[in-house]
Amino acid sequence: MDSPPPRRRALFGYEPPPSASDGGPLSVTELAQRARRFLEGEFASVAVKGEITDVSRSQRGHIYFTLKDANSQIPAVLWEGAARSLDFQLQNGLEVVARGNLTLYAPRGRFQFICQKITPAGEGLLEAKFRALTAEYEAKGWFDESLKKPLPFLPRVIGIVTSPTGAAIHDILETLLRRHPRASVLLAPAKVQGVGASEDIARAIRLLDGRDDVEVLIVGRGGGSLEDLWAFNEPAVVEAIRRARTPVISAVGHEVDVTLADRVADVRALTPTRAGEVVVPELEALIDGVRILRDRLDREVTGLLRNASLTLDALGRSWALREPRRMVQRASERVKELRAALTRSLEGTHRRLEERLRRLDRIPSGRLLLARLVRARQEVAGLRREMDGAMRRNLEGARADLERLGPLLESLSPLAVLQRGYSITRTKDDGRILRSSNEAAPGDEIVTLLADGEIVSRVEES
């Protein structure tokens, strides 16, 4: 806020306060009374210009507030009586000219400005009315953000309420159609200035709002003075905007101009040109966007299907599914091997046993045993031969002995002489050899040995 440099002198003065009596120290009360008297005497009736702040209303209806400028502030009060006759609302930030007197409120040691009369500073009736209306609609909550309707993304028909001949319609259309060459616009012409303008604007708003095809409204005009723009502060317009079902874009004046229409509208465009920008998306970008979305869509679904197809193909190509016989074949080969091994192994066992048995085939031939029998037989026969021989030799030895002794005996026979005619006579009873005739008596039997035998005789005489 570009307020002028503070005029301190005007507010406080630089005159030093009257000095206390030169005697002893004053009591606080004494000092306060003396200060009050001084203030009330010095500032019995002054006008002060400042900004209102810290407004509060007591139960009795007094209004307490603070007057301030950039550097200083003074507490002030407007008694209930004066407050009742106020034709505008005291609200914070309001620049006012207050007329009244200054006093000291001893219990607090604070001085206070007692307002007798207060008027808005430097503004006319319109400003005050604007403030009053602003306050009123604010109190009603019509400006609340929560009430703001969103703008349609792509309105079928854009309703415009403005003067068909003003700069605004030109600016709006230019921007709008540049962005969206196929936009559909319905202009409801209205007086935007002067007597009956607000009603005209309100009527046009209601007219467009009543149509099904209009999806957004632009209400506005070009810049101007407060008076020029005043129709947009009128309750008729504010209420028409507020009550419209269709979202409303306000585009009134220039950036610095704020009307109630701006505040109540769903979207405030700083200028009519801006309104042309916010009301529609760029058609080309839109088409591109839609096409890109479609492309992405196609690409994605194609990709998904291709991936699925590839996965499925890969699975289909896996040997597990493609050559299932392999799993059976492996088993089949194993079974065949086992079959061969089975036969082989048993044949092996059989052959081994057969060989073992064949080695034992000597048994049935009995050769061994027969040979042994032959040997035994030979042995037996040999023994027999030996035995026979030995026996024969025994007998032969005996015979040889006998045959040797026979002739020997014979040769030694004392009877050999008998061959030559000698004989030997012996007694028969005792065999005694008779050497003398008297050895035998008649009657004795005698045996005469001759060469070839014996003769037995009886002795006749001797």
Binding site: L154, L186, L207, L297, L305
Partner: protein, 80 residues
Amino acid sequence: MAKKVDLSFEEKLKKLEDIVESLENGELALEKAVDRYQKGVRLHAELQADLDRMEKRVRMLTEEGREVEFEGAADEDDDQ
């Protein structure tokens, strides 16, 4: 207000974007993805149709409530 039983262009666009995004996330089951795709195609067609259906018209309501071509902006069109 029941006039927009069919979704607005913006809603359809948003839906299409959601569909594309969900497809791009790659977390959808294939059948669901195809369903979505179908929905997407339909939405795309509608959006396309919506855009196609649009036609530049600048009109003005007369005091009698008639619609007349608004000449005031006709010349602006040529510049574009």
